[in-house]
Symmetry: C2
Subunit: 430 residues, 2 copies
């Protein structure tokens, strides 16, 4: 056990967690504080042996300092039986608890069924370090009601009002085959093979109950969730996420990320909502654009990420500052200006975006961009109005195409080995 | 400068390399030794600051200990002008020398053309460590003659006899759109963003001269080229490449990997040939197969990678050993038996394969497998007969589909800042 593991284990022993929960002392703020502690302790460059506690009041993989690789999957449920869904979620919970703590599924290297059965675990992560693996599970709107509005599993009465398909935003060129989904799995790890292994094995468990609808791999964390991490760069070459909500900023997390106990529905307390947007970047066009135009698009300098109104990366932007003329130094249609809280009624979001590449298209153009993941307390009041504003006004739109869109409810964390993803939802509808 | 950088810089200063070459003392064996020295010094888990010398008698990225991420691109030349090809190769050489030593292309953070020109470097690796980046460039058969046999750039007289498109192997389901190519770029780094950045910027430089034909990303090195690295696992969950030629095994490298001074053509001395095969793995079928069958397919145990004839991973296999019955313990049609040098006239190859995933297909099946790269001294006597034998007899064929195929000549290394990829070829045909 490494020093980091030991600290995590000391800080987050099962007993301590169960004790806190058992005492009925659970508050979302308290839960968030526990998460923030992990953030504060984890080094910014995760050691290969990094492990994050799987059990807790909130799910891991939201405020966890971003790992370098993502594997994301959306699944559709193929069964009509509520109990089969519950069984799958229970098996997912046990498997996720094992994998995120470096254990193979099934607990041994070979199948519990012996040599004449397939191994429980597909094995490709067998010798690899935990690599900071986190597994986060979410529920899409179609888990509650199918497209005809039918209540599929008796859950419709508990569907959150903000959990619906994202609207069509201006300019969207969304492909439904890589959008939406009944369930989602977000696996993040510093080693891509560890993330791929996690998704593959959860998909295996789902066989007969759910099937993969689409997947997405990502790399090179394109936004920071920890003040100990430098701000990463997206494939436009610019720092991305300078003003992101950090995992240690409990007040902002309570205001903008975690669903609070007073919010409806009750089963979502300690949860959050995930907005997913696959944003292809037209790199060939961008790469032939002058540095002046590029900096105008972002509203920041490329080298340092400083706002064009002056200072360094973390200097507060002055959207009104002008140079010799009357035009603002930060163009009004720059990404910085349009996405700024002051342009969005003070609203903020927690970004957790990854860069992606997927080969080249038939014209030899690189198929690459940003797989944008944002966690918010309410999709209707935070993400959707901000995205609508960006889609209408952001000068960056000239260089990007929105290709997919999805929304998921991320239920609260699992309180211990007997808890499972979404138990509160299924109990509320039993 | 970190300690590792310092050691590399001390051991491989430009002066030392030029001195050795200037003395006319260059032999392929000597070059190999220099490479082996790098291998010996580099820790098995590359530090983020790892750098490999770009200049040397052989290209980097062949015997370099495998990094965790690959980005590979095949390009087609769109110009008909020999000088334009030369200019591009010269610009590639300067850019590769910069990027592999952690410098941006153009030498500064902004364009040499100032704010009103596009930046020379796309910028997304600006704050990232070198991450052990290696860049390797190769020439496909169609660089020498087009499919009609026409000599495109006056190079046909120097086309190596073994450099032709790979034949159709039994069972091949090869897609020509992701096969072949006039040129290839192999970028390997521990950070995928660093590898992606390298390919993207070389493709930018090629604009107007060559265009991307296809690309492939890979992760989780699926074979080892250093005795200091543990043998990695492929997506079947088995160790892969136990008997690989290691970067320090100079005798085997001279016999099976590096083209020797006595070989034809002369310009290939210090070079090697690359065989590329994209092998999709049918994971859903594999995952429902018993451990007994899986181990029979490989001829090895899954947990330790030991041959089924006994011992540990590195025990020499006994293909004749039988158990209680008369059948060999290692099935005659197992991958181990069919690929073994004793089944292939003693031939060996240097494997440098990566795992890949590319989403899921429309049936919800994972699109994943092995991007197989093998370096050999001669394709006709080494790779092709071995692949023919495997395609005919390997029991593993039931679980894989060969989807693409390509062959490239990897010319010798660049001797210094004035050298460039393929200079000996172009000078031999001037």
């Amino acid at each position: 056990m490494t020093e980091v593991d030991e600290r995590n284990a000391r800080g987050f022993s099962r007993r301590a967690l169960l004790g806190a929960f058992g005492a009925g002392a659970l508050t979302v703020a308290g839960a968030g504080t526990a998460t923030a502690l992990v953030v504060g302790r984890a080094p910014s460059a995760h050691p290969a042996s990094a492990q994050y506690p799987f059990h807790g009041a909130v799910q891991q993989g939201v405020t966890t300092p971003m790992q370098r690789s993502l594997h994301f999957a959306a699944l559709d449920i193929t069964t009509t039986t509520r109990d089969a869904v519950i069984t799958m979620l229970q098996r997912w919970s046990a498997a996720a608890a094992a994998m995120t703590t470096g254990q193979p599924i099934g607990g041994t290297r070979t199948s519990t069924g012996g040599y004449d059965a397939p191994p429980d675990d597909s094995g490709e992560a067998m010798d690899l370090a935990t690599s900071g693996l986190t597994i986060t599970v979410g529920f899409g709107p179609t888990l509650f009601r199918d497209v005809a509005g039918h209540d599929r599993f008796g859950l419709a009465g508990q569907q959150p009002s903000c959990l619906h398909e994202l609207p069509h935003f201006p300019g969207d060129q969304v492909d439904p085959l890589i959008s939406s989904g009944d369930l989602c799995i977000q696996a993040c790890a510093d080693d891509p093979q560890v993330a791929v292994h996690a998704v593959r094995n959860l998909v295996r468990i789902a066989f007969g109950t759910a099937t993969v609808r689409w997947t997405q791999a990502g790399f090179g964390a394109s936004s920071s969730t920890s003040t100990e991490q430098p701000t990463p760069r997206n494939l436009f070459g610019f720092k991305d996420g300078t003003n992101n909500i950090m995992g240690g900023d409990q007040a902002a997390l309570d205001d903008y990320v975690w669903v609070q106990p007073a919010d409806e529905p009750q089963w979502m307390a300690g949860g959050t909502y995930l907005a997913v947007r696959k944003i292809r970047m037209i790199l060939e066009t961008w790469d032939r654009t002058s540095l002046r135009e590029q900096e105008g698009v972002f509203g920041r300098t490329r080298s340092e990420g400083a706002p064009l109104s002056g200072g360094d990366e973390f200097t507060t932007v002055d959207l009104a500052a002008t140079g010799r003329g009357t035009d603002p130094l930060v163009p009004a249609d720059s990404h910085l200006a349009v996405a700024h809280p002051s342009s969005n009624n003070g609203v903020r979001i927690l970004r957790r975006a990854y860069n992606y590449t997927a080969g080249s298209d038939r014209l030899g153009r690189i198929d690459a961009g940003l797989f944008f993941l944002a966690f918010v307390r309410d999709l209707d009041t935070q993400f959707i109005p901000m995205q609508m504003r960006l889609s209408r006004s952001d000068r960056m739109n000239e260089y990007v195409r929105y290709q997919s869109s999805a929304a998921f409810a991320i239920p609260s964390g699992l309180r211990g080995p007997d808890d499972w993803f979404g138990r509160a939802l299924f109990e509320a509808t039993a």
